[in-house]
Symmetry: C2
Subunit: 226 residues, 2 copies
Amino acid sequence: MKSGRDNKRINVVANILEANDRVAMENRRLLEKSHTRVIDIIGSPGAGKTRLLEATLPALAGKMRVGVIAADIETTLDAERIAVLDVPVVQTTTGAFGGACHLDASAVRQALEQLDPSEFDLIFIENVGNLVCPAEFDIGQTARVVVLSVAEGEDKPLKYPLAFRTADLVVISKTDLVPHLEFDMAALRDNLERIKPEWIELSARSGDGMPSWIEWVGRTARRAIC
Amino acid sequence: MKSGRDNKRINVVANILEANDRVAMENRRLLEKSHTRVIDIIGSPGAGKTRLLEATLPALAGKMRVGVIAADIETTLDAERIAVLDVPVVQTTTGAFGGACHLDASAVRQALEQLDPSEFDLIFIENVGNLVCPAEFDIGQTARVVVLSVAEGEDKPLKYPLAFRTADLVVISKTDLVPHLEFDMAALRDNLERIKPEWIELSARSGDGMPSWIEWVGRTARRAIC
């Protein structure tokens, strides 16, 4: 049963998403011109997105030209953590746009005016910490990665299906914590298999699983853009 | 600098929030009639909201009449965990409303049609796992609690200020994990003090800090509704 109010809301959402998709296509054309690949990293607050980048960027140094767009509602804390690694980074704060809970294609377009794509082979976008809304917005990425920390629990792929269904890769992070949690890794694997994305289990802290992730990033950075 | 498009978007958002506030006031009047208090629990996916309820509900048994509204995008997993404790529970899934990233006042109104407030002294609402959007929506609650797990990191109150600024209480959860994390509790306390909410540190697993939380819940359940 849908009321008139629900229908109106759904129309407004559809219009916003349609306008976003047009800008995302423009971003994609801009990135194609310079053969720049973009990996959009989404996940809950504290899933370990910045920590993953901190462990990834040194491994890519000298192999490709990498830049980062870090998004948060407020603060430049993430950009500061990336900048010390000598990687070009632009911080986008959505606080200026009413504290938006995701990046949309226009926000990425503005960031790309500051981080010239022609200077990079690969740009990581660290999205706003949120397992729901960022999954709804195409921003012109080559691939999307969802990071889920083992501390979040094994039921999350079932509860937040859109993020997992639309991701090119799932990264299960913080695996070093498993011995200290009431956590059922076999159940998580079962839940992921029901949704069927590709996934990698890793700990940025211990280094376990990092080679598979670095290999996936390298493959994505070389992927043909069609 | 705001484009015409941004202004339009902000107007749409303002209209949605205004309509929501009207329904929230209606919810509040309905709850006042039966002297029912409502505690809205928000937090990231995996912050430990359901686990906190599992540890709380047995402690309240026989002291007050308690019901639960559990919200998720999909699945009834949380409601199943609550139901085994013999507590009346209604599961709301927002998947039917385009996978909404929060509960709004209308969704709560619908849930209150199934969980008659006159039968309860206290209703807990476990909101959709999201540290951003639920903070923007008044749903008619008596008090709002934000749950932040130590696994999420000490910088979250700065990055997601609205949730912390508008909360009546912050619960820092999973403190039993601190020895296994690169986590700075002193920095988290500093960050909380800058935003100045009341907070409780606890572990639902070890029981540490639970008495302070149960005391706070009892006080809220007796709070005069004005």
